[in-house]
Amino acid sequence: MKELCKLGGLLMLITTIAASALAGIYNVTKPRIEAQKALQLERALTIALPSAPREAIFPVQDEDVILYYVGYKTPEKKELIGYAFVSHGSGYSSVIETMVGVDTLGNILGMKVLNQVETPGLGTKVEEIRHGDDAPWFTQQFIARPAGQVAVDKDGGDIQSITGATISSRALTKSVVAAYEKLLADKAKPN
């Protein structure tokens, strides 16, 4: 019994020290981690709504959930530029998450893939930047097309799908269409 207490006590002591050390580290890194996340979002938003300054993009929330973003020309909410939203599509081996920006008519202004773990060399080409370009060629094709109707060539659309990665290409187009329809529905909801 006595030994058990001793062992337990020692274990307790060590875990307490470890826990305190971690608490310290957590506090130090937390702001940085959040800043990183914010930075990523910001970058995506800038790509999605290139003509809206960051300060002029506002989230539209339902409770704590961000439904979409609204972008204006100025921070004073003047001159509506468009909306940005995140689409989710099941690809070949992961859910492809994309930030999409559209103008008020629903034409795509910009796109940035946030997350994907597709097959390297095939599905990952949704983010491939060709030599000499400065933006991924696949998502560039979407720009200026109506978000409600994008489709890959195999489904009768104009988006040239990635060779050998039809599933990933299709996932992206379909998710954009679906997310755009959701955006329309969300916008119709009274806030």
């Binding site: 001793k6 062992l7 020692l10 274990l11 060590i14 875990t15 470890a18 050390a21 971690l22 580290i25 957590y26 130090v28 890194t29 937390k30 940085r32 981690i33 990183q36 990523q40 097959t119 390297p120 060399g121 095939l122 030599h131």
Partner: protein, 198 residues
């Protein structure tokens, strides 16, 4: 003399990957590019260094019965530190390594060195041992990462090194490529060893 020996043994003679076949899970999983191999190697080396020194300091007061849980707590602490710092300062690398950073906790190299070395030696030698083993592990990862990235992507550290006509052997950066590469590398070292033994 023995300091040098404890350091160099991890590099080749007792290389954790090539000679002891330890830590194969992260070796196989994150060696598809030089960049992630390097990141993983550094992370493991850091954890190994810290856990080896702490464990060599406390091993005298730790009863044998609960030494494993205590070692694990120590290791887990440092792994979490690495994980959090990486997320804060190197988010891109953190994203690529993903689950494999937390999994360093169960990497058998670290617990193995704690049991086999740090739990029996003083802090000085333990640091040297941890450093040697960590660098040995990093070298192994880098070798695999270089081979796989070169063959599977035609690049080094993300920079294309082959002419544009090169069609990369995609399988090499996919999971089967890891097994193929490590099989051939281990075979090569065994062949070398056999040749030297003759």
């Amino acid at each position: 003399m023995s300091v040098v020996r404890e350091f160099t043994k991890g590099l080749y003679k007792q290389n954790p990957v090539f000679k002891q076949a330890l830590g194969l899970c992260p070796t196989l999983a994150v060696s598809n590019s030089v960049e992630s191999a390097l990141g993983m190697g550094v992370a493991v080396t850091f954890v190994l260094l810290c856990s080896n020194s702490i464990i060599s300091l406390i091993h005298k007061i730790v009863p044998a019965k609960i030494r494993i849980p205590i070692y694990i707590v120590v290791i887990a602490t440092f792994v979490t530190i690495v994980d959090l710092s990486m997320a804060g300062f190197l988010p891109a690398l953190h994203k690529t390594l993903g689950i494999f950073v937390p999994l360093i906790v169960v990497n058998c190299i670290i617990l193995g060195r704690a049991e086999a070395f740090a739990g029996k030696n003083g802090i000085g030698l333990s640091i040297v041992d941890g450093l040697g083993m960590g660098i040995g592990f990093t070298i192994a990862l880098l070798l695999l990462g270089t081979l796989r990235e070169f063959m599977g992507n035609g690049s080094f550290m993300g920079i294309p090194v082959m002419n544009p006509g090169f069609e990369p052997v995609l399988i090499m950066i996919l999971p089967p490529g890891a097994f193929l590469t490590i099989g051939f590398v281990l075979g090569f070292f065994n062949w070398l060893e056999n040749k030297r033994a003759k």
